[in-house]
Amino acid sequence: MERKHFPAFYQDNVKRVYSFLYFRVGGNKALAEDLTQDVFLKALNAFESYDPSISTSSWIFTIARNHLINQLQKTRPSVDLDEIENTIWDAEDWTDKLALNYDQKRLWSAIQQLPDEDATLVRLKHLEGWSYDDIAEKVGKNAGALRVQSYRALKALRKILKQK
């Protein structure tokens, strides 16, 4: 795509990319900002190779994921993204860093208790702001099926919270 379309692309994706990085760097705002900036400047350099008809937002998230791994591997050479994702979501200490209130911590803990697929769906859709179409592209499922799954996941979440 032509570079003149990049500002619109940036506005459409900046919040999600930031959110994606933020949750994977333990809630470190300054680091998330630095990484977000790097990702979009890299994306700008490669924008002419971007074809929205082939990949929608997975293109920018691939750049974000690869950049994140490269940065983290500077301090932890053997790291891979799956390991990072599991570590971040399970780490209780960084919920303290975020100064979550009591209800938010309960909610966070309840999300961790969902089955992995449901927890991932809730995180991507409701915490990171992905669309069902984008999630479908990522996980290889139908968007309609994901809507139903999300509805059931939120129902299960309410049940967990009532029990606590």
Partner: protein, 222 residues
């Protein structure tokens, strides 16, 4: 449930200032206005220049109390403030930015007075302060009346504090000559601000009470 999740998601939202700043950098690289007018190009170039100097330098210039008129980085601060104002399109927010910058001038002049800088700089600073007051009062006339009262109250407080700073400067003067020089600056400042207020409509004039310089000077002598 969705509201609770939104509350949690709010922690992961980027700072709007960061989003705007990165947008400016991107547009500078592309070399276009992205829907903005041609007059923004220089603003974008300035921001890029500041970023290239080193974001830390720009931050230092903008926030440090050591960067006062006469300092090599003071022009950087002025550039950032100008962009800050120009980049704000909403009239009420623009005035809020102007008031913030007025408070900055007040703070700078307070530091200049305490540090007893070259008095020619003080005159330039007071001129900038008065011009800032005049601009804010003019622009505020475009706001609804309830907002006008709020801004006028703020400006009244800032101008009163500024007069206090000059009085303090007078007290700290090393010589009678310096003392009378600051007195003249204060008289001139108060006269110009009073003239501006008297040009406002009656309902707004009520928001201010500008003391005559003699009253201020008499108070300070007690």
């Amino acid at each position: 449930m969705k509201r609770q999740l939104k509350g949690l998601a709010a922690h992961a939202q980027p700072d709007p200032a960061f989003v705007r700043h990165l947008a400016l950098r991107i547009n500078a690289r592309i070399g276009q206005g992205a829907g903005w007018t041609q007059s923004w190009k220089w603003a974008v170039a300035s921001v890029t220049a500041i970023s290239l100097i080193g974001g830390a330098t720009g931050v230092y210039a903008y926030t440090s109390d050591d960067v006062l008129p006469g300092h090599s980085l003071y022009a950087v601060r002025q550039g950032i403030e100008h962009i800050e104002e120009v980049a704000t399109l909403n009239p009420a927010k623009k005035i809020a930015v102007q008031v913030k910058q007025l408070k900055r001038r007040l703070h700078e002049n307070e530091l200049l007075t305490i540090r007893k800088q070259d008095k020619s700089i003080l005159q330039t600073q007071v001129d900038a302060f008065v011009k800032g007051v005049q601009t804010v009062l003019d622009d505020t006339s475009k706001l609804p009346e309830s907002k006008q009262a709020e801004v006028d109250a703020d400006v009244a407080k800032i101008t009163a504090n500024h007069a206090g700073v000059l009085l303090e400067g007078q007290k700290r003067a090393d010589s009678e000559l310096e003392k009378s020089h600051i007195q003249e600056i204060l008289k001139d400042e108060q006269a110009r601000i009073r003239k501006k207020i008297e040009s406002l409509k009656d309902s707004r004039q009520q928001h201010f009470r500008i003391s005559k310089p003699e009253e201020l000077l008499n108070k300070s002598d007690r």
